[in-house]
Symmetry: none
Subunit: 148 residues, 2 copies
DNA sequence: CCCACTTTTCCCCACTTTTAACCACCTTCC
DNA sequence: GGAAGGTGGTTAAAAGTGGGGAAAAGTGGG
């Protein structure tokens, strides 16, 4: 349907400095817009970073979903817009992260950048480790099924 | 449908000074008209701020709704127009808020500006916190449904 | 109907804090 | 040893806030 979803591959350990800046991995920077939308994930586990296009795509998906009532959609969009922030990368390829969002998710110093489809995530080290261990069994299950 | 709905992203903590002025976040100011319509939300929880165009759009949507009786529409529009006020931003990018509306909603000193689709809101700190907590479950629910 | 007088509105200036652009350095990998 | 990637710091510009003062609008009395 849409043009093409950007695929951010891999995990990277980077630092958030005292000015709340974080370098976007060079591999993700290439061919990517220098404009992003940052939002805190619902359970406050990590930060989501995506392009405005991806954000629109996601919004459209929510808008179109028949399993959600009109009222729930209204609430969702109110929250979604309130939680999200525009940011642009500087000449060095660094994002300035909103302080409040970082605090909410517990980001400071060394963090992990996790790739994804159309977006990437910024995790607290400990939280990431724990989440990864919880997810691995399921991952293995699917891997076995598809004969990986 | 319409040309393009302005997207006000994020939350900002600003101050209403003794002259009832409030600075519009610079990010929201850019590319926006300097004319706004302010109205108190029905349950007196917060102030709504939008462009005249957005106001027309909203009115048109209400007018077109087939599920509402003609009488209810009359009442709605009477209320809508009575509650709303014209304001323009000054050269510093500040809105002068109507005193009566601020009192109604309980706005004074530090407040929270909350972004939205085509409009933004001005909240009392405590009220905002409470409303946010109430809305978060629904937000999470929808977020899970669409796989956010 | 006009003239003081008060009140409100708006424009401007000043100050502080935050943001963002720029430069410099160190490390790693060809 | 050069180039590219990641990090740290400096500095100029922008954003947010407070307040003064002139113009405009409302108010009351002669």
């Amino acid at each position: 349907m849409q043009p093409e979803q950007r695929f951010y591959a891999g995990e990277f350990r980077h630092f958030i400095d005292e000015k709340n800046r974080i370098t976007i991995p060079a591999r993700w920077r290439r061919g990517s817009a220098e404009e992003f939308i940052v939002l805190a994930e619902a359970t406050h586990q990590f930060l989501l970073v995506m392009s405005p296009e991806e954000f629109s795509r996601m919004s459209a998906a929510a808008e179109a979903d028949a399993n959600v009532s009109a009222r729930d959609k209204r609430v969702f969009f109110r929250q979604l817009h309130a939680r999200s922030q525009h940011t642009t990368a500087d000449k060095q390829g660094r994002l300035v992260l909103p302080v409040d969002l970082c605090q909410k998710v517990g980001l400071k110093g060394e963090v992990i950048l996790v790739g994804g489809r159309g977006r990437f995530e910024i995790w607290n080290l400990q939280k990431r480790k724990r989440a990864d261990e919880e997810e691995t069994p399921t991952y293995q299950h699917v891997a076995n099924v598809i004969g990986l």
